[in-house]
Amino acid sequence: VKGKRIETATTFPLNSIFMTDYDLALKSIHLRKRLLEAIFHAGAGHTGGSLSCLDILNVLYNRLLRVSPETFSNPGRDRYVQSKGHSVEALYVVLADRGFFPESEMETLCHYKSPLVGHPTRKVPGIEMNTGALGHGLPICVGMALAGKLDDASYRVFTLLGDGELAEGSNWEAAMAAAHYELDNLTAILDHNTLQISGRTRDVCSNEPLDEKFRAFGWAVRTVKGHDFAALTDALTSTPEPGKPVCVIANTVKGKGVSFMEDVAKWHHGVPSDAELKQALEELDAAKAKLSSV
């Protein structure tokens, strides 16, 4: 009988340098600047959601995921699928920073013939699946996690969901299947910034309480501060309850890091003007100086 065998990924190197919370904080400031510049140059992008999930991606790619440019094609790698595909600018800057592709390519974001499309595609090294239509990442990750179980492989599968996205019914189909198949190798991270394109999620079509909903679907739920590196790391690495998929509800701030973008729905896909970019970069520089002085 044919059928592949998957080696354990536990021997994969994490980021070769251990990064402290302070290192991650500095990196997040740097990456926020890069993504704002990229969106400014492209004249398009999803600014608010990219800023809200950036710290989560920073933790995933610099502390947690057993994947690197060298191991990306290894079947034993950890997998990350960004279901809220519109926040792709955060993913691009993190992948470029990790060496999946040259940082200079960020300048081509959304340009004619650029591989850096406005939503994730596998044309870009490091991206597992093409996403952007909402409600697709979780079912895909259920498939990947199930394959891991069937192959007795040790890799973990992560997806990032938006809270507005959870109105898509396919998420709940997948949530049922994940619990049914006892996929404790699957973690769904909810970028819970409470805003979507039209306004407050609770006003658009309320979906709270999300923790109780996921629990009722048979998931283990952990709620954390979504910009706290230690808390995110703890929630994403603590031992799973056997047989239960994990939902980490990360309470985040849309537009995090730039005062006038924070918690404002219009920055969902707002593009900064010259003056706004300047102010945003200054604020981030000030945050960096403050951080360094501590």
């Binding site: 009988v1 498939g143 394959a147 997948a174």
Partner: protein, 331 residues
């Protein structure tokens, strides 16, 4: 399904009645899965209608049940395929290609993972269950999606070959078939190649370009017309996409009339694909699409519906005669 005259002609031609394409699929899938543990069937409470009960009993770890959730069916299948599994997502064609159209477009085709999408009880196989259960849109919807091979086998041989080819495909494939017993149309030794139509009968008076369960009716119509002195070509176009443009253009150039036949809406299926191809190549030939018209489909069995809309030996032969300017019997 066939009139007594058609059955008699089939017998005269030596056609043997095989089993249903669905049964053929289920048996080939079992064979493939027994030899390769990466072969999986994913079902949406459709293991019964997919004849996969024995598969589930023999290979329980290789049957993934997701419940009545077709979007999830295709999403999970895409994830499994991305992780290296040879995944056959099996669901009635009506649900698989409408409820989960976006998952087919994005998760399978755009992401380019080799998921195999199996539309069972396709076309009007569900007959009197009504339009909720018919898939007369699937070829039209899926032809407009990039990076999908579309296979519509006409008999057990084509089904077997299509499933085997799909198992090893490196890109997504959609295969649709029905659940009526099919005549074996191909002599032993016939070659099956994705993208290459099979010529079942030579002739230059008219050509039938057909796919799926409509093919046998065209073959019988061609044999029927031979008794009137006309030699008609019959192409079994098992691959609707990518279309065998060479075979279609040759038929248009070499024959005096063309009838395209399919168990699908007149819109967007094989017929319109052929029409667009011929017109853009400057081939002008009397041409008709024999398919299900754009109307509230008549109630009845698959055979009733085929008969009502002229997908029978008699009606197809009459169409050719009319296209050739000859008077045929009114059907």
């Amino acid at each position: 399904m066939h009139s007594s005259a058609a059955k008699a002609l089939a017998e005269k031609l030596g056609l043997k009645l095989g089993r249903t394409n669905l049964d053929e699929f289920a048996s080939i899938l079992m064979e493939l899965a027994k030899a390769d543990r990466d072969v999986l069937a994913v079902t949406s409470d459709s293991r019964g209608s997919g004849k996969l009960g024995p598969f589930g009993q023999a290979l329980p770890k290789q049957l993934v049940e997701v419940g009545i959730a077709e979007q999830n069916l295709v999403g999970i299948a895409a994830g499994l395929a991305a992780a290296g599994k040879k995944v056959f997502a099996v669901s009635p064609a009506c649900f698989l290609t409408a409820r989960s159209l976006e998952q087919i477009k994005n998760d399978a085709c755009y992401s380019d993972v080799p998921a195999k999408l199996i539309g069972i009880s396709a076309g009007v196989s569900y007959g009197a269950l009504g339009s909720t259960h018919h898939s007369l849109h699937d070829l039209a919807a899926l032809r407009a999606i990039h990076n999908l091979t579309i296979l519509v086998p006409a008999d057990n041989f084509e089904t077997r070959e299509a499933i085997r080819a799909a198992a090893n495909a490196t890109h997504p494939v959609y295969i649709r078939f029905g659940k009526a017993p099919m005549y074996d149309l191909h002599p032993a030794g016939t070659k099956f190649e994705i993208g290459k139509a099979i010529t079942l009968r030579q002739g230059n008076d008219a050509a039938f370009i057909a796919t799926g369960e409509a093919v046998v009716h065209c073959l019988l119509a061609a044999a029927h017309l031979e008794e009137r002195g006309l030699n008609c070509r019959v192409l079994s176009v098992h691959t609707v996409k990518p279309l065998d443009t060479e075979a279609v253009l040759r038929a248009g150039r070499e024959c005096r009339a063309v009838v395209a036949a399919e168990e699908h809406s007149v819109h967007g299926g094989l017929g319109e694909a052929c029409a667009a191809l011929l017109m853009q190549a400057g081939v002008s030939v009397p041409f008709r699409i024999a398919a299900i018209p754009d109307e509230d489909t008549v109630t009845g069995s698959q055979a009733d519906i085929f008969r009502h809309y002229g997908l029978t030996m008699e009606a197809l032969a009459a169409r050719v005669l009319r296209l050739l300017g000859q008077t045929g019997p009114k059907v």
